[in-house]
Amino acid sequence: MSAPRPAEAGRPPWGSSKVAKPHLLESCLLSASGISKSYGGVKALDAVSIEVEAGSITGLIGPNGSGKSTLFDCICGFQRSDAGAVSLAGESLQGLSAQAIARKGVRRTFQQLRVFPALSVRDNLLTSAQSAPGFGYVQELLRLPSVRAHERAMRERAEAMLEEIRLTRLAQVLAGHLSYGQKKLLELGMALMTEPRLLLLDEPMAGVNPSLVEDLKVELQRVNDRGTALLIVEHNLKLVFDLSHQVYVLEQGRVLMKGTPRQVSDDERVMQAYLGVRQTAGAEQDGAID
């Protein structure tokens, strides 16, 4: 975690020092274009288009009610958009059910923390690791050797994941008994069990204490280094700007702007819409976020 840079005139002290990884920028992993969604007379999303490059971290920020969670729902198949198309590495996701999209390598977390409370931590991870494609119910029940081999591999991966999210000693505990922070870690671990190509995180830092924020941030960076693209909705702007290669700003269901973290953080409109803060020389607005 780098020390905060001294405030330059007119600029907040954060700002991504990220250099885009050039070879990855060439492949657009997720493309959502023209997504619109209305509830009754209220337009939650109005022709929103975003792109996520493979292996990159994209931030999605905007005031409450700007449509971020709705966009996630539409991308992941939890809601059907009124218009627009979503494709993953060129393959259309139109009309696919949410579970089918999950099986294509798109995982997500939810704004309201979700785990399986009656299953142990380890079983939560195992349940999150999908069966291999082509395994029918019959094979699962008869516990054919191929199924058993897959199970073993999944158990090994679960153990490794337990290590990574540091819940090894709580492996047998029912997930419902974990503390909030532990559940957050478990939630992340679960989403990673299938080594997704794209992980959508809906406010991963909500309600998390600062030291755990740091841990989660390091973990997310590690995940990204391994090749998973991240699309993060967050209100913790410092975190978003530190991590992301590019940031989209949503306001009232529309894309206000898109750019590098520096571009976004410099933009007057974003400041007005989101932070209600104006640029002043030497200003340090670090602590005002959240």
Binding site: C76, F78, S97, A98, Q99, A102, R103, R107, R108, F110, R114, V115, F116, P117, A118, L119, D123, L126, T127, S128, Q130, S131, Y137, E140, L141, R143, E151, L170, Q172, V173, L174, H177, L178, S179, Q182, M190, T194
Partner: protein, 298 residues
Amino acid sequence: MINSVSPYLLHIGVMAGIYVLLVLSLNLMLGYCGLLSLATPAFVGLGAYASALLTLRLGCDSSLTLVAALVLGAASGVILGIPSLRLSRHSFVIVTLSATLLLQLVASNWVDLTRGALGLADIPSLRFGSFRIDGKPAWLATMVVVAALGIGVFWTIVSSRLGRAMVAVRDNEPLAVATGIDVMKIRLFAFACSGAFAALGGACYAHYLSFIDPGLFGFSISEALLVMVILGGSGTLWGPVLGAIVFTVLPEALRMAPELRSLLYGVLLLGFVLFMPEGLARCLSRPVNRAASAEAGQ
């Protein structure tokens, strides 16, 4: 040795074995999938009538009729499940209840097939080739084997990935979907298995008591099963099984009038639902988890 045991006790043993099968049927839906299915009597009746009719009208060997009952039960689960499992959970309960009423209506009126309210009598006992299950001791042995097999199959299902998926869907459906679990498919599978278990129980019932009538589709089976599952511990493997044994033995031992027994069932059910919804099995295993969770909560 077993021949010296009172026939009455043997009878209770056989009925307990049958109820174990029925309880597995309900527990899979209610305990593991979190769906209150009142369709068990429907599957029981279907299995009973199918096996009985195949034996009476076509003289089929019991290996065939039992398989037919299993298949019919599973197929009915799928047929009933496809429209009803995508409804709200309230509607699912209503539809399953209505299915049993509808089948009762059909069984009472399709006299050519089922002899209507007269029922089917003189149903032969189970016969596998030249080997007949004759007499209560043989039946008890048979039911012990069948029930054990049923429990074995049940355990195979719930301890597999499929069982975990059912619990996942029960406890947090959106998360299960986000994990890639096909909700409808797993529920249909569970309902089909539930149908198969109950149909097998129904077939055994028909061949053991040698008489069935449309009343088999009535609510009293569900009434007893609910008590067995809820008190035993919905969602555990052994709780409802023990519940089945206890609540087959107890009413017989106490020799209660049917209305009084039903009244007691109602009171017990209400009490447990309100005050101890996890049943007795969970109560006993709770201290284990409490220790682990105390450590987690730091």
